[in-house]
Each structure stands twice: as C-alpha cells, then as structure tokens.
C-alpha cells in the first residue's frame, strides 16, 4: 500500500488511504505494546514463582538465621529511640516528683513574693554512645525470640495453607493464626530476658 501511495502524484496525506494506513499503524503499535507487556508480565510471574518455590524450599536454619539477623538490624536502629524515650519518661517523672516536693515545702521559700523554681531545661539529646547503653541485653532478648517468631510462623502458615489444609482458601486466617503461634513461642524466650532486664534496671 505504501508503494502505491508513493507513486501517486496527489498529496496522499489528505487521502482516505492515508487515514487507513494511520489507523493500521496505530493498531499494530498497540498490539505490539500489549504483547510486550504481556511477555514482561509472564516473565515477572515466572520469576516470582521461581522465587516463591525457592523460598519455600529454603532450609529452616536459613529462615531462623535471616529472622535473627533482621532482628539485630532492627534493634540496632531502634534501640537508641527506645533509650531516648525511656530517658525522657524518667526525666519527666523526676521533674514531676521534684515539683511535688517543692510544692509540699512552701516554708523553704524566703518570701511569698519569691517566684517558684523554674523547671529543668528541655531534655537534651544525649551522645550517641549513651543511647546504645543496654544494647547487648536487648539483642539477647530480641534476636532469638524473633527467629522463633518468624520460623514458627512460616512453618504453621505453610501447614495451614497446604492443599487440603483447613485454611487453604482463607489466607487471612492462616496469617493470623500462624503469626499468633509464632509470637506465643517467641514470647517464651522473650519474657524471662525482659524480666532479667527489669531486675537490673530496678
């Protein structure tokens, strides 16, 4: 058709054949794009299936190890935040107790016109190394229990969602039950370590 149009002496841009050609080209482009995205999607799905199958077949020590290491990473980032929060609460409680004690002893003030003592300046951010105090006990508390949490979760979930299993068609229930089971087992390790930490802080 292109050859026929090229040999035509008239301006083919305004001809009906040109419009036809344009719409054919557009349709072809659309089909090509659709095919390309379908191929990409199929490739993505195949890769995902391979990944899921591979992860499913991963030995349990890898699962427990990954969970423990992930917990170490999370604790390393969040421990200073936790420490800062605790220090803030402690400082606020101390300031409150101080204010109560001061209010209970008005006679110590030289005169009624003397202003009440001002509160402490806003709690300052301590140096970073101080925020990491108590990191090791926290890692001892979190890493093994987190490993158990996700390890048991994966085990229970795959059992509940296996073909013919009770929650094969109810993934939400399987996730909830498996997560609860994992946390229950993990808490058996976490609770005593938490109690030891509290004893040391008292």
């Amino acid at each position: 058709m292109k050859r026929r149009l090229a040999s035509e002496p008239n301006d083919y841009n305004s001809s009906a054949s040109f419009d036809e050609l344009q719409s054919l080209e557009l349709r072809f482009e659309l089909q090509t794009n659709r095919r390309k995205s379908a191929i990409a999607l199929a490739r993505q799905l195949r890769e995902r299936e391979q990944l899921l199958a591979g992860l499913k077949a991963q030995p349990l020590p890898i699962v427990y190890g990954a969970a423990a290491l992930a917990s170490v990473g999370s604790t390393l980032v969040m421990h200073p935040v936790d420490t800062f929060k605790t220090l803030q609460i402690t400082a606020a409680s101390a300031a409150e107790a101080e204010a109560k004690a001061a209010a209970a002893k008005p006679s110590k003030r030289k005169s009624a016109s003397e202003p009440a003592p001002l509160g402490k300046p806003p709690f300052a951010l301590p140096p970073l190394h101080e925020l990491y105090v108590g990191l090791l006990p926290n890692l001892v508390k979190e890493a093994p229990s987190s490993a158990l949490y996700l390890g048991i979760y994966e085990l229970v979930r795959s059992g509940l969602m296996a073909p013919g299993a009770p929650f094969e068609t109810a993934p939400l229930l399987a996730y909830l039950v498996a997560g609860a089971a994992g946390e229950f087992v993990g808490s058996v390790i976490r609770a005593p370590v938490r109690a030891v930490q509290l004893e040391e802080k008292l």
Partner: protein, 164 residues
C-alpha cells in the same frame, strides 16, 4: 544496669528465678498484647503485599527492600494501634506486680486479672484511657517492623540468589 537491686545479669537472673509467680504474671499478661500484635503485623504485611501483586495498576516490584519496608511499616502501625488497649492493661498489670513484689506471692488473692484492670481503666479515664500513648507506640513500631520484615525478606532472597 542503672542502679538498684541486681548488679549483674547473673544476679538479676537469680532474682527472677526466685520469683517464678511474678515472672509468670509478667509473661501471661504480656501475651494479651504481644500475641495479637504478632498476628496482626504479619497478616497486614502479607495481605498488603498480596494485594499489590494482584493489582494490575501497581506496576512496581513488591519484592524490593523499600516496598517490603512500607508493607512492614503498615503492619507495625496497624498492629500497634490495635493492641494499644492491651498494652495499657499489660503495663498496669506488670507495674502492679513489680510494686507489690513478694507481697503478691504471699497474698495469693492479691493478683489482679486483665478484666479487672480493664474495668478500672474504663472507670478512671473512660474509653480514651485505653489509647494512652497510642501515637508513640505507633511511631515506634511502624519503623521497627518495617525494618525487621524488609530485612528478613531481603536476607532470604539474598540467600536464595546465592543458591542457599
């Protein structure tokens, strides 16, 4: 290890073993908070991930560290908010148990259960009393769970890519 009763982890461990009922109270009451939290955070994470995989309009790869961190943070946020009432009750039980200490062991009828504590919270502060500290809890757990679950998935994927 600020100050006080135990000067070393070994001594603290011995003291914990000396008070088994206090340990049991702390553990059993923490289950009311931790078990639902553990269930909700992972369920939200998995559901959010599955939803994005099945949504044709969501073109991004969901198996990446940032995407999984976002799903995990959502799980941590929802889990933390939903379990704040349990956290309020648990904290009160543990604090009361620590304050009473040996007295609780001596007086077996002195222990308070979650239901009694929940009722006292309701009488003291109303329903809002169950959500004291909700924002700080959510702000802490959203990043913590985001980091934890995204690292976990990435480490497993790395192990898979290495042939493990």
């Amino acid at each position: 290890m600020q100050s006080g009763f135990a000067s070393s982890p070994a001594e603290a461990f011995g003291q914990v073993l000396d008070k088994p009922s206090q340990l049991l109270t702390a553990w059993s009451s923490s289950l009311w908070r931790d078990v639902p939290m553990g269930a909700v955070q992972i369920a939200v994470f998995e559901l959010a991930k599955a939803y994005c995989i099945n949504s044709p309009e969501f073109a991004a790869n969901v198996n990446t560290l940032p995407a999984e961190a976002a799903f995990g943070a959502l799980g941590g946020l929802i889990g933390a908010v939903l379990t704040t009432p349990a956290d309020v009750v648990t904290t009160r039980i543990i604090t009361a148990s620590e304050e009473q200490g040996e007295a609780v062991e001596a007086d077996s009828g002195g222990e308070v259960g979650p239901l009694e504590v929940a009722l006292s919270v309701l009488q003291e502060s109303g329903p809002s009393g169950f959500f004291v500290g909700v924002s700080s809890r959510a702000l802490y757990w959203a990043p913590a769970i985001g980091i934890f679950l995204s690292l976990y998935c990435s480490l497993r994927q790395t192990a898979f890519n290495l042939g493990m």
